[in-house]
Each structure stands twice: as structure tokens, then as C-alpha cells.
């Protein structure tokens, strides 16, 4: 019988065995999850067609199946209906971006986009805004001077992106009418911003208004510069905190002063929305959010809602804050990170999205388990954000 060979070092000695175990644990925990959860991030960044299409099919299926306010759990009727609106709006934008990047799938995805646009224009969807304002946002386009910033701004972005791909569609006239109404109202707006709801002034919703007008100008050649140029300048100068560049979440409709702290969720979302129309201020917003609030743990990216030294509660915009980290802001920053080619930041945020979103593939489709209609639409829209080639505005 051969003698049992012994290891050169007695590895069972506690002083060696346990430190090696801890070192092994740390090495694997630091490197392997980073790699595993980052694989999709690199594919998203490269615009991988297989991955993109699988998620697009999930979003298209959700839109085709239809979404209702009962799909959402908030106790607030307003939030449920805003999320319903957001699901169709972000779903349409996401699929339009996929169509633009992968034109070979336009015929497959465009019906879901147009279904979503029809829903966005429907009385059922716009009822939340009509209820808050006491007037219908579409029927009063030419007669009212009230803001309707959220409904009209976000809607107009989707209409503009659709027009880029389908310049002769049945939505063109509505796109022109909404854009004209927004430009006219902005020209006479107190403080240079449109109210989202009566006596509620949010710069982030106005980023959608501004982005949509710049997009309308680019697609149609219309000139909105008399309102867009000063508004861009005020986004650069007035509506952001001078110390960190973050966008104020809300302003006082009476005197235009900040009502809320500058926050990452609004800043990152504004960078997403404005980026559809221009690059310069959107990039500044992105860089402010990243510089002030972004962090990473073992390669998993996140955003704090408040800049260092500030603190505050979470809300419907930020999502529940966990140690000050905002799930919404973390997700929103994915879009501008891709737009401005920041692979490192993009992949770090995608690692977190992979970890907490829990993607699952079923029947040729791929969706995030924790996503639902709004989360899946949002993450597809953010992950497929086009790299901007728009020249910087003056």
C-alpha cells in the first residue's frame, strides 16, 4: 500500500486555514458577482440585438395586453394613473428607440407603439390630468393657457420620437398642435416654466416639455428658439443648486424659489428627458448627478438622492431610500450614462439593475421580475437610450 502523501504545508492549522478561507471568500465575492451581473450591462451598452429584442418583446406584449390603473398598488389615485400614463409613454419611447436602432424589427414592434400612443391620447389615460386641472388637456390646446406640463410634455416626447420614424403618420397633426400649445404657453409662463398641476411647478417635468420642443424643431424644422433658448439657459443657471449642479425638485409657483432640495432623481430624469432634444445641458445634468451622488460598492453602482451633507425623506419620485440610496435615481442615470458613452458608469448601474431587477427569460421574451409594466418599460427605455449626436445648443 502506497503511503498517503502529505501536503507540503499543514493547511489544517487554524492560523492558515481560516485566513485563507476569508481571503478566498473576499476574492470571489469581490470579483465573481461583478463579472456575472455585469455581462448584460456590456451587451446593453453595445446595443446587442438579441438581448434588446427579447426585452422589447416583453414590453410590446405588456402594451398589447393593456395596462390599467388597477395594475398599480399605490393608495393614491393620482399616482396610479400617473404610472399608467408612464407605462404607455415609456413603453412607446423604449420601443421607438429599439426600432430606430434595429430597423429590421420596426414592422414587428410598431403596432405596439401605436397602440400605446392611442392609449396616451385616450380620454381614459388623460383623465388624471383633466381631473387635476378641471379641463381636458387636448381639447383645450388652443384655448387654454394652463400648464399641463407633465401630460403634454411627456406625451409630446413620445409623439416626436414616433415622428422621427414615421413622418407621415396619423399622429403628426396632434404632435404639431401639442408643440404649438406648449411653445405658446411657455412664452407667457410666469418664471419660464409650465405648471404640472395647479400651483405645482416641477423643473423635471419641464425638461420633458423642453426636450419635446427641441425634438419637434429638429424633426420638423419649426423654430421654437424664442422659448427654448432662454429656457435652456435657465436650466443651466437658475434651476440648479450652484454648489453641486443638481436640479431643484420643485419650485414655488408664486416666486419661483426652490421649495425642495436639489435631488438626484429629478436631475437624472431631466438628463434623460432633455437628452432627446439636446446634448449640452443634459450632459451637465448628468455629470452633476454623477459627481455629487453616484457611488459604487464592489462594482455595483448606485445614486444617493441627496448630495453629501444634505438629507431628506424619500417620496414617490425617489422611491424608498435605503441608506439614502434612491432606486429611481439609480435607474434613471442608466439612460444618460449610455447617451454620453460612459461605459463604466453604465455597466455599474446595470449590475445593480441586474441584481435587484432579476431578469428572467420566458418564451423568447425577457423581463425584470421586479419590473412590472412601468419598470420594464423604463428599464428598456433607459438601457436603449440612443447615443446623442445632436450638436450642442448655444
Amino acid at each position: 500500500m502506497l503511503p498517503t502523501p502529505r501536503l507540503p504545508v499543514p493547511l489544517s492549522r487554524p492560523w492558515l486555514r481560516w485566513p485563507v478561507a476569508v481571503l478566498l471568500f473576499a476574492l470571489v465575492a469581490i470579483t465573481l458577482p461583478r463579472w456575472w451581473c455585469g455581462r448584460d450591462g456590456h451587451r446593453w451598452f453595445e446595443g446587442d440585438a438579441t438581448l434588446t429584442l427579447a426585452h422589447a418583446r416583453e414590453v410590446a406584449a405588456i402594451l398589447e395586453r393593456g395596462v390599467s390603473a388597477e395594475d398599480f398598488t399605490s393608495a393614491s389615485d393620482l399616482f396610479r394613473n400617473e404610472w399608467l400614463f408612464g407605462s404607455y409613454q415609456m413603453g412607446a419611447i423604449a420601443l421607438l428607440q429599439v426600432c430606430k436602432a434595429h430597423p429590421e424589427h420596426e414592422a414587428e414592434l410598431m403596432p405596439a407603439v401605436e397602440r400605446a400612443l392611442d392609449e396616451l391620447l385616450s380620454e381614459r389615460i388623460r383623465a388624471f390630468d383633466a381631473h387635476k386641472w378641471g379641463e381636458d388637456p387636448l381639447e383645450t390646446l388652443q384655448t387654454s393657457e394652463l400648464g399641463h406640463a407633465a401630460y403634454l410634455g411627456y406625451l409630446n416626447l413620445a409623439l416626436g420620437l414616433h415622428r422621427e420614424l414615421a413622418p407621415g403618420s396619423r399622429f403628426v397633426a396632434t404632435h404639431d398642435r401639442v408643440s404649438a400649445a406648449l411653445a405658446r404657453r411657455l412664452a407667457s409662463a410666469r418664471h419660464g416654466l409650465l405648471e404640472t398641476y395647479p400651483r405645482e411647478l416641477y423643473p423635471v417635468d419641464n425638461a420633458a416639455v423642453l426636450g419635446s420642443l427641441l425634438l419637434h424643431a429638429r424633426v420638423t424644422g419649426a423654430d421654437h428658439s424664442s422659448v427654448t433658448a432662454p429656457m435652456l439657459e435657465r436650466f443651466r443657471r437658475d434651476w440648479r443648486a450652484p454648489e453641486n449642479g443638481l436640479l431643484f425638485q420643485s419650485l414655488d409657483p408664486h416666486d419661483g424659489r426652490p421649495l425642495d432640495a436639489p435631488r438626484a432623481s429629478g436631475t437624472a430624469l431631466a438628463a434623460v428627458l432633455l437628452g432627446h432634444g439636446e446634448e449640452s445641458v443634459a450632459r451637465e445634468l448628468y455629470e452633476s448627478a454623477r459627481a455629487s451622488c453616484a457611488g459604487s460598492l464592489f462594482g455595483f453602482g448606485f445614486l444617493r438622492e441627496y448630495a453629501p451633507g444634505a438629507s431628506g425623506p424619500g417620496d414617490i419620485d425617489s422611491g424608498p431610500l435605503i441608506f439614502g440610496l434612491s432606486p429611481s435615481a439609480t435607474g434613471f442615470l442608466i439612460g444618460p450614462a449610455r447617451r454620453f458613452g460612459d461605459r463604466e458608469q453604465f455597466v455599474a448601474l446595470q449590475r445593480t439593475a441586474h441584481l435587484m431587477g432579476a431578469p428572467v427569460s420566458r418564451g423568447g421574451r425577457r423581463g425584470y421580475v421586479t419590473g412590472g409594466p412601468l419598470g420594464n418599460a423604463l428599464l428598456l427605455a433607459l438601457s436603449t437610450t440612443a447615443r446623442s449626436e445632436i450638436p450642442a445648443q448655444p
Binding site: P5, L7, P33, T73, A75, L355, M356, A358
Partner: protein
């Protein structure tokens, strides 16, 4: 008191695979539910969904971030257990 014997590699791997299977089952179960809305804005009927989602996310966090390291560290500790200063290929 009788000392519990150290787990065998087979048991270590099986325990890990059981967690993987539980994660997989929950992943597909929760795919049918819409849970983000519960997380962002819990409503009156969100308690069960929140508990299930919380458990799932903790399990996922453990499995994806710490799971492989935990598995390897346990296998290492087994391979180097006291009285086991021999090359693993030759048995104990």
C-alpha cells in the same frame, strides 16, 4: 454533548443547489406578479407581496453576491479540516 460532524462536500454542494432551486422557483413565481409597484408605493394589499419580494431579493443578494464565495470557502474548510493534511485526490 455530541459534536456535530462537519458537512460532507456532497452536502455542501446540495445545500447550495437547494438555494439555487429555491431562487429559480421564486423568480418564476414572482415573474407572474407585479412587484415593483409594491416596493415603490406599498398599498393596503401589499404586505404579502412585500414580504415575498423582500425574501426573494435577500436570497438573490446572498446567492449572487456571496453564494459562490460561501460555497468555495466551505469546500476549502472541508478540504483543510483538522486531521486532513493530505492531498484530496488520495482520500482521507
Amino acid at each position: 454533548m455530541k459534536r456535530r460532524p462537519p458537512p460532507t462536500p456532497r452536502r455542501i454542494v446540495l445545500e447550495f443547489l437547494a438555494l439555487v432551486a429555491l431562487h429559480w422557483a421564486l423568480l418564476h413565481l414572482l415573474a407572474e406578479a407585479r412587484v415593483l409597484e409594491h416596493l415603490l408605493a406599498p398599498g393596503p394589499g401589499s404586505r404579502v407581496a412585500l414580504a415575498a419580494t423582500g425574501f426573494f431579493l435577500l436570497l438573490r443578494l446572498f446567492l449572487l453576491v456571496f453564494g459562490p464565495a460561501w460555497l468555495l470557502a466551505r469546500l476549502w474548510l472541508w478540504a483543510t479540516r483538522p486531521g486532513r493534511d493530505v492531498l484530496p485526490d488520495h482520500g482521507a
